[in-house]
Structure formats: C-alpha cells, structure tokens
C-alpha cells in the first residue's frame, strides 16, 4: 500500500513537472515579449534590456525554466544589489500589470473561490444524487421523465447563459435578490448569502445534471444485480434493501468523480466568477487573460494542475478504502 502511494506520488511529481514545462514553453515561445509589455508606451531599447536582465529574460530557455521552478521551492531574487527584489517561496513571480506577487494575489482570492466551490458542491451532490435516486427508483414514471429532461437541459445549458437568465429574472425583473456584492460573511450574513446564492446555483446546475444521470444509471445497474435478489429473498424490508444494498455500490463510483470534479472547479468557476463579478481565482484568471498577464496565468494553470493531480491520488486512496475488492486482496 505504502509503495503504491509512493509510486503514485512520484508519478504525480512527474506529471506536474511536465505540465509546468509545457506551460513555460508555451509562454516562452508563443507569447509576445513581456519586457516590451512591462515597459509600456514610452520605452527605450535600453530600458527593455534592463528589464530583461532584471527578470532574467535574457537567459536561455533551460536556465529561465530552472529559475522559475526553483523559485517555487526556494524563492528567488530579481536583480542585484540595492535594486534587488526578493520573492519568497513559493514564488510564482510578479504580475506584469500590478507588480504584486502572484502567490499573494492567488492566496488573497482563494477564500471567495473556496466559498463558491464548497457551496456549489454541496448543492450539486444533494440535487444530483437525490434526483438520480428518485429517477431510478421511479423508473419510467413522470418523475423519472421530469428529472431526466431537466438533467438533459442542465448539461446543454451553458452556465454563463443560465447566469444571465437568473440575474435578469431574479434581480432585474422580480427583484427577489439584490445585485451580487462582494461582502464577507461577518460583514453582512444575509447579503453574503444572497450574493452567493445565484453563483452557487449556476455552478451547481450543470454538475447536478451530470450526476443525476450517472447516479440513475448506477442505481438501475445495481438494482438488476443478483445480490439484490438475495437481499429480497432474505426477507429484508424494501427500504433496507435499497439503503444498504443498492446505495453503496451505486454511489461509490461517484466519490471518484466528485473528487476530480471538485479539484477541477477552478476551471468551472472561472466563468461563474466572471459573470457575477466574484473576486476569486477564476476572475483573476479571466482578468489576466484580458491583459495578457503571463505570470498570473501561469501561476493559476500550475495551481489548477496541482489540484487535479493531488485529487487524483486522494481519490485513488479513498476508493481503496471504500471498495473492499480493492482494499483486501483475494484469498
């Protein structure tokens, strides 16, 4: 077991290195010169050279990559002497636009993204699993059709469209909700809740739709298994049969899916945060794209990759504990 985890960790480090290398290569070769961008409109060739040497942009590719990589673990120093700027580990460089540390920028916006992600995840698990179960147990009835049609719409509706639709209906037309504002929970709990309600709903809808489809298929699959017949033949109550024997086999695969989807939320939340003006990591990414702020885009990409890779390992380990066929070797 320990060896398996160790091997997975090594593989994960390899994947992360590859991703960082690819990302670095993309910006190194494909993107316009950052020095020109930093320098601004009134710029002399001398100034550009100066910026280049300060940021280490005049070095060959591998050295730049190495500096970037080692900066993440040990921090790095830009420039020399009195003009030197230090960047503590984990250093992802400085924004071309605001000169802030990318690490600080991301950390500062994490709470908003985490709030959004956790609320949405709770909603979509509830709706997805509930809907899927209802649909499977009432298979072929009006309930089933209603849930599945909603789910089909849910996976077909782009979430920015849903966001605009909700905002237009609930805020502009019906005035049930105020315009979303960036307040913290301690400042004004009600306004905080009202501001996050739509983003949670929008982000959760698509996932809930997908999950209800998957849960329905899994439950119907499980209900057809022979051990369900055994459970009934034992004379167990129908609810016990469903709860104990059908639920666990049907929902265990959902754990894997959920781990990966939750870790991948940085991508999913990007649009939701942008549309609702939530100042999270997703909006930071979208803003940085608009301004071509490479260090920030790169930092977020690496963070997103790291989250997915770590989640992958966690999910595998969790799954081992949930499925006895994997946990216990057969005799």
């Amino acid at each position: 077991m320990a060896i398996t985890i160790l091997r997975r960790l090594l593989a994960a480090v390899g994947v992360l290195l590859l991703i960082s290398l690819f990302t670095f290569m993309i910006f190194f070769w494909l993107s316009p010169d950052p020095a020109v961008q930093i320098c601004g409109k009134t710029c002399t060739p001398e100034r550009i050279d100066q910026i280049r040497s300060q940021l280490g942009l005049d070095l060959p590719f591998w050295q730049q990559y190495w500096q970037f990589l080692s900066g993440i673990f040990t921090g790095r120093t830009y420039g020399e002497g009195a003009a030197a700027i230090t960047c503590a580990a984990p250093c992802l460089g400085f924004s071309f636009q605001t000169n802030e540390s990318v690490t600080d920028m991301i950390v500062a916006r994490m709470p908003v993204s985490v709030t959004l992600a956790v609320g949405a995840a709770a909603l979509w698990l509830l709706a997805g699993i509930g809907g899927g179960l209802l649909s499977a147990v009432k298979q072929g009835t009006g309930w089933d059709r209603a849930v599945m049609t909603t789910a089909l719409a849910g996976i077909s509706l782009p979430n920015y469209f849903v966001a605009l639709l909700l905002q237009y209906l609930l805020v502009v037309q019906l005035r049930w909700l105020p315009f979303p504002q960036s307040v913290t929970f301690t400042e004004d709990p009600l306004l905080w809740f009202q501001s996050y309600l739509m983003p949670w709903l929008v982000l959760a809808f698509g996932y809930a739709a997908m999950y209800s489809r998957i849960v329905r298929t899994n439950v119907i699959d499980t209900l057809g298994q022979n051990f369900m017949r055994t459970a009934k033949a034992k004379g167990l109550d129908a609810p016990v049969v469903l709860r104990r024997h059908a639920l666990r086999p049907s929902l265990t695969p959902v754990v894997t899916l959920f781990g990966m989807d939750f870790a991948g939320l940085l991508g999913g939340a990007l649009i939701t945060e942008t549309v609702f003006g939530l100042n999270g990591v997703g909006k930071l990414t979208a803003d940085s794209i608009a301004k071509n702020d490479q260090p920030v885009i790169m930092g977020v990409t690496l963070l997103a990759a790291a989250l997915v890779v770590v989640a992958n390992i966690l999910v595998d380990v969790t799954y081992t504990y949930l499925d006895p066929r994997v946990r216990v070797k057969s005799a």
């Binding site: 089909l152 077909s156 782009p158 605009l164 502009v172 991948g264 997103a304």
Partner: protein, 319 residues
C-alpha cells in the same frame, strides 16, 4: 460550461433482442425506431434548421440586406447609449431578430454566420478527434504491449490535465492568426483521449472474440483483421461518440469565445455575442436571450440525438 466530454462511457453489454420476422438492415431498423421518438424528430429538425442557417448565411444576408459586419446607426438610440429602437431588442421588418445594442448590427445574420463558425469548428474537431481516437484506441486495444503502454500514458496525462484552464492559457498565449483553426487544434489535442479510451476498451474485448480468433486462425494479417473485423463492430460506438462530441465542442468553443480567447471579433460567434451582451443584459435582454437560445437548442438537440442513438445502437449491435 461543458468542456470536453466527460461522460461518454458507452455501455457495451450485449442485450438480447427478440428475433423479428424479417430482418431489416440495421441502419433502417435504427432509423425506424428513432422516428417513433418525438424528442429525436424534434432534435433532427433543430439540427437541420441550424445547418441550413449556417449553409445559407450569405443568402440570408442578401435577403435581409444586412451584412454581418454592417453597422446600422438608424436602428439604435444614440441618446440612450445605443439601446436598440423598438420593442424586443429592435425586432422589426428590417431586422427580424433585432439588432446589437451599441452598433446596430443585425442579430439574425450574425447568428447565421456564428452558426457557420461554430459548426465548422465543432465538426472539424469531431472529425479529427474521432479519426485519431479510433485509430489510436484500436491500436492500443487490439495490439496491446508497448503501443498500448505509450498511448495509454499519453491519454492519462491529457485527461489528468485541467483542460479548460490549459486551453485558455494556450489560446491566450497564441498569436491572433487563424483563430478557428487554432480552436480546432486545441479542442482536438484535449478531446481525442475520450474517444480513444472507449474504443480501446471495446477493441480489447473484441480481440478475444470468436470471429477474430477465426480470422486469425485463417491466417489473416493483423491490419486486415482490424479493418475488416474489428472496425465494423465499433461502428455503432463511433457514431454515438461522434454525435455526442459535436455538442461538447460547440459548448466549449462558445465558452472559450465567451471568455475572449476563442473566436475573435469582428468574426461573429455565439459565445462572443453573449459575452458582449453581459454589459447590456439589464436593458436589452434579447441580446443574450437570442444567441443563448440558439446555443442551448443546438447543444440540446445533438445531445438528445446522441443519447437516443446510444440507446438504440446498443440494443441493436448485440443482435
């Protein structure tokens, strides 16, 4: 936003089909089954309508007299910041679906040209990912060994990627150039493993089937077995996967364009129109409702069709 397809797992357990008196050709049977479903008929109508809209976009421009890039200052109220004149976003006999606020471009014509871009990108990406996915999936599944090792590793790597963020990073770094072609490229790079994974699984189970054994025993060359025996058996799966890949690419392309890294202005695109509409949604809701509805209907129609094809072909293939 729907990114690359994540739930394309096609169930392949054979299901018994009651023998019918006469045996119509599978294609005919599939079509006759599908024709009985109102949802499928509706979906096909929507798809046909969108395709016609895309194909005849220039004709539409000629009929309405509006070019997709042509401003119409008479259709907007410059005193009110450029809000369309008239009800429902400026719907009139001259602008059938109204005009864009701010510049007065005709929405219907831009929708039609947007459908062109959207379908072209999605269909091209589907063709590419299906070809690569099927070939690589069959090679990995049928031959196994080192080829399988390499292909599977690459697939794992690409699928472990936070693909949306990475697509954004990649597209934001790439120079303007030919955006639609770049989109097809990026969608294809991250899309093919989802097809290949399913095909690989099926090819692996077909490898040990009796008719493949028989072909092998009769001395057929492996390449011939793959194309003569394995590929025809994957036909149903490939059709389903491709049908479901189209809406996912349409959705992803629209999302990327919405974020400003996809199709660049002035080329019209649905996602980009909705993105522009964000600033106008309170005063001119039609501007996001119209492209949003077109986008939703298109994705919905392809998904319904794909779902139903999967249902019918699964049952049919086992017979």
């Amino acid at each position: 936003m729907s990114t690359v397809p994540s739930e394309l797992a096609v169930e392949t357990e054979p299901k018994g089909v009651l023998p019918t008196g006469s045996a119509p050709t599978p294609a005919r049977r599939v079509i006759s089954t599908l024709r009985k479903s109102p949802a499928v008929v509706f979906s096909v109508c929507v798809i046909v309508f969108i395709v016609l809209l895309a194909v005849f976009a220039p004709v539409l421009a000629a009929i309405t007299g509006w070019d997709p890039y042509e401003f119409d200052p008479t259709a907007i109220d410059s005193d009110l910041g450029g809000v369309p004149i008239g009800p429902f976003g400026g719907i009139s006999s001259s602008h059938w679906l109204g005009v864009e606020p701010g510049n007065g471009r005709d929405i219907l014509v831009r929708i039609a040209y947007g459908a062109r871009v959207s379908l072209m990108i999605a269909v091209s990406a589907t063709l590419i990912t299906t070809t690569f996915g099927v070939v690589l999936g069959m090679v990995a599944g049928f031959f196994g060994g080192l080829a399988d090792q390499i292909i599977s590793r690459v697939m794992d790597f690409l699928m472990a990627f936070p693909s949306l963020i990475f697509m954004i990073a990649l597209l934001s770094a790439l120079p303007a150039g030919n955006r639609p072609a770049l989109l097809v490229l990026v969608l294809s790079i991250f899309g093919w493993p989802y097809t290949a994974r399913v095909i690989r699984g099926q090819a692996m189970s077909l490898r040990n089937s009796e008719f493949v054994e028989a072909a092998r025993a009769s001395g057929a060359r492996p390449v011939k077995i793959v194309f003569r025996e394995v590929l025809p058996n994957l036909r149903g799966t490939i059709i389903v996967l491709a049908t479901l890949a189209v809406p996912s690419y349409i959705g992803t392309e629209a999302g990327l364009s919405f974020l400003g890294v996809g199709v660049m202005p002035p080329t019209p695109s649905w996602g980009q129109m909705i993105s522009t509409a964000v600033g106008w949604y309170a005063v001119d809701p039609m501007f996001f409702l119209i492209p949003g509805t077109f986008l939703f209907l298109t994705v919905f129609a392809f998904t319904v069709l794909g779902d139903n094809l999967r249902r019918v072909l699964d049952a049919g293939d086992a017979a």
